[in-house]
Every structure is written in C-alpha cells, then in structure tokens.
Amino acid sequence: MTAAADTPGARAWLRPAAWRNLLRDYPLIPLTVLLVLLVMTVELARPGTVSPNWAAFTVRQAAVLAILAACQTLTMLTGGIDLSIGYIASMAGFVTATFVHQPGGWAFGVVVALAASALAGLVSGVGIGIFRVHPLIMTLGMGLIVFGFSNVWQLQSVQTGAGVPAELRTLGTGLTADVIPNDLAVFVPVAVALILLLRRTGYGRMLYAIGDNPVAARLSGVRSWQVLVVLYVLSALLAAVAGLLQSGLSNTASVTLVTPYLLPSVAAAVIGGTSILGGRGGYSGTIVGALILTVLAGFLSIILPEPWRQIVFGSIVVLVAAAYTRATAAG
C-alpha cells in the first residue's frame, strides 16, 4: 500500500488501488460477486436452469472438489503442492468397494483405505519434511506408487467383485428434505474444522509461517519437519474422504475415478486466492473457488461441446489467476 492510497476521504474508494486492495485483502467479496454473476448468467442463458434441484446437484459436486482443493490449499500455504491426491482418492474409493462382499464389510474397507492413505501421506511427509525433497516430485512419485498398487489390487480383487456400498451411495447422492445434499454432513464439519485450524490454531499459523519464510519460521522455533509430516498425512486423509464421497456420488469405483479432478483442485485453490508460492490464502476462498468452477463446468457442459469446454475452462483459469497476480503484486 502506498501512502497516497492511505489518505482518508470518501473518494479513496474510487481509486483503482482501493479495488486492488479489496481483491487482495478480502478476496471473498469479489469472488462471491463473481459466483453470483455466473449463476445469473446461467439463468439468463438457459431460463429455468437455476432451481433447488440444480443447486443441490451443484453443491453435491462442489463439496467433493472443495475437499480435494483443501489438500492443495493447505500444502500450497507452505509453498508445496500435493499431486498424489487424485490417485489416493481413487484408491480409497476403490479399496472400500472391494471389501463390500468380504468379511468385515465396507466399514472395514474404509478403515483399510484410510490407513493406506495415511501411510502414503506419511511417506510423502517424511520425504518432504525430513529429506527435503521437492513436494512436486515427492507427491508425483507417491502418486505413481499408489496408482501401481491400486492396479495390482484391482487385478487381485477381480474374483471377489466390487460394488459401491449402499451407505456411501446414500451419503453421496441422497438429499435430506429434498434439497439438502447428504454429503454436506461430511463437508460442513470438515470445512469448519479447516477454517478454524487455519485461523485459530498455532498449527495453522505455522503453515503460513513456513510458506512465508521457511528460514524465519525455523529460527523462531517451528519444527518444520513435524509440521510438514502431519500436513501431508492430513492431506492424504482428506483426499481419501473426497474419494469415498465421489465413489458414492457417481456410484462407481475405479482406480482413476478422481484423477480428472486433480487439475481443477489446484485451480480452485488458485482462484480462491491461495498463492502457489506459499504464505497467502485461506480455505473460505477455496470453497467459493470450487463452487465457481463447478457452476462453470456444469454451465459449459450444457452450452458447449467437450473440446470447447476444456478450452474455455483453461482460458478462464489463466484470466482469473492473472487478475489476482496483478492485484496482489501492485502495492
């Protein structure tokens, strides 16, 4: 902020700098405006689209994306990224489905899936936190490993058969009182916990500190490696939860079910105002970012054929990211 932008007065709000500061300091406001504009565009382009049913459908899908984007938000705050979540989430959904006809049932499958995810996250965390391998490479390699093991598991479980448990289907697709998606029962507690974690706890502070300036964080007594190991385990567990929801939502279990959501999850966090360089951002912005992307993807799938949808989607991500970079770099 320059001194000129700080001068008090009613006209200060008319300056471009004031708008830039708004975008930088309260990204939630312009993002919500963007979301509302987008919904209005959808309604104008196709009158009658926006309905309680449409909203429920959108929220249901956005919740899964938002949980996946939480993994990116948390890791990006420390200057990292988690590229293994697509495979971990798919693996969790698939493993659970293979346990349906086994002794122990799907509940045991969920336990196995969560344990396997936590193990993958632990190995990533040890590599990144203790051996200081670049997060991009570490999670990439971990993604390959998880994908390979999932494929092996798939071949071995062909005989036993797989099916998405009815309980997960209810959670993923069901509506309470005809409008409220059931998966909010998972998403809302997760979201509240994450927002409180980032805003109110010492652990959240440490994530920002590591991303903002790792050396300063270490010198002020933060044990970075412990923070990072816990972070990547947490990220893998969140991915597993998202995978379970997605397999319930789509009533399929496959080892690549969630992988198409990897890039949108990064995009949702970036659009939500989290800097990929670390130290800046938050989860509330990411939630709105996930909603925007879901509404946009749904809208584009109505009006455009698949190829154009991808082209427009990519262009919009670049545009929004460019607007942010402009806003946050100036001043």
């Binding site: 200081r132 991009l136 390699g141 490993i145 262009s315 991500v317 670049v318």
Partner: protein, 336 residues
Amino acid sequence: MSATAASMDQPRPGPMDTVRTFGRNNAWTLGLLGFLALLLVFTKVVNPFYSLGSLSSTATSVLPLALAAVAQAIIVISGGIDLSISAQMALTSCVAATMMKDNPGEGTAVAIVIGVLLLGLLLGAVNGALVVLTKVPDIVVTLATSFVWAGVALLVRPAPGGSAALWLKDLVVGPAGIDLLPKAAVLLVVIVAVVWIPLSRSRLGLSLYAIGSDPLAAFRSGVPVSRTKFLSYVITGLVAAFAGLSLTASTGIGSPVPEPTYVLISIGAVVLGGVSLAGGIGGVFGPLVAVVVLQLIRDDMTFMRVNPNYGLVAQGFILIGVLMAGSFIQMRRSRT
C-alpha cells in the same frame, strides 16, 4: 550420444564454478550410464531372447518419452516447469496424423512435418507469453494451457486415428544398418544435436542457465530475463512438437487424449538425470539416460513375469529413493 557427453566435458570460458558444475553433472551422468550398462546386462540375464535387435524396439518405444524429457529439461534448467508437454504432444501428434491422412503423399508430408514444428513453436510462444506477461506462476499457466491444448486436440481429432507417412514411420522403426544402432536412437541424437548443442553453446543457452540459477543476478548482469524466459518456452514447444511427431511416427496414428504419465515421468527423468528443479543446473544428456533407465526397469519387470503394475511402483520408488538419498548426501555435505 557420446558426442553430447564430449561437448559437456570441455570447459567453457567463464567462472570456475561453471566448470565445477559441469564436472559434477558429468559425474552424475556417468554414474547413470554405468547403471544403465548394468541394467542392460541384467535385461539379458532375465530375458535370454533380448538381443541387439531388441534394442531398436526399446529405442522406438522410448523415443517420445525421451524427447518429452529433453523438452522438460530445457524449461526446468531455465527455472520454469511445463505441465502442458503431454497436451502439446497430443495436439501436434493429432494435427500431423490428421493432415497426413487428408493429404497423402510423401512430399506433402515433409511440408506437414515442418508445419507441425512451427505449430510447436507457436504453442510454446503462447505459454511463454502468458508466463512473462501475466506473471502468474508457471505451474498454474501450463496447467491451464494443458486444458486448452487438449481441447484443441479433441477438435482436430474427436477419436484416435489418422495415419503417418511411410518415410516418417521408417525413420523411427528398426535398426540403422547394424543392429547395435537403432534408428530411433540416431534420430534422437540428431534432434538433440540440432536443437541443444548449438543452443548450449550460444549466448541464449548461457542466459537460460543464468535466469534459472538466479533471475535477479541475471537481470543485473544484463541478461534480458523476460525475453529469455519467453524463448525457453518456445524451444520447449519445438522439442515437444518433435515428441508429438515421434508419437505419430511410432504409433502411426494421433490420439487426442494426453498420456498423463508423460508429464510425471518427464519431470521424474529430468530430476533423476541431475537437473535441479530449482533451475540453473544440469543438461539434457542425463535426463535422456534416466528415461531409458526408467523404461528398461519396467520392461525387465515384464520379462520377469512380475505384474506390470509393479513397474509403476518401482519407478515411483526409484524416483523417490534417489531423490531422498541425493538430498540426504547434500545435507550431510552442507553441514560439515
């Protein structure tokens, strides 16, 4: 291939530490080469039918990935990263296969190949212009453009198909004269020699290392940082177009869906090949050897009748294991 290694051996005019950096890179690459030799012996042991003739089929199958690794190495050396390489390959491969089907004729195919290479330059230029002008982190830009390129590829070819000119297929399949020399390997050396060797000896090549190592220091020494960054993406786009063409040549068709593992393995091979992800360190020869090593390990596991999916697991573990060991050694060294 040894020509590339020799060119790296020669000290260049410049500060001592540049020479030392090159020496260290060479040690790493030579180690990798030794490992590759061991791996070839091992391949012969587990698969007695693996002969010199099999070398050329290995080379043909590894060529697109090797070129992708070279493209990734160039951009990583200059301090960036390109997640859209596999999408660029899919797009250029689709354009080539479609145009060759629509305009058959060996002569027109030459024009098509040149056109596709120009397309690669254009794709790289768009990536570079976006990174330089918007100042958005390169991961985000190339992630987003990977959607765009994949979308355009789907417009060009809604389903896999098309065809490749005979001479193009002939360029990558089989041995060149003697069994020991696969055509694909010769082609790879030629492409690398045409693109990388002049580049690494030019002012632009030095600038690539400079902006990768420290953009601010490069700026203060008079390197045009933005222009160099832009050009690094353009060159990457060109090599990615070569990779896309080799994909068309080796499969005979174009497929609009980018192979997701290409990006992952290209980055892995770059790091395994001794290029620092922080930029400014390494060359393209190490990543090339690393790609062959990664591919041979997978092939060997197939020969050993191991479930081929364990090949992915092994590649992942090797990637992670080498990196952990590498940074562990570096930490020990910096502590003492």
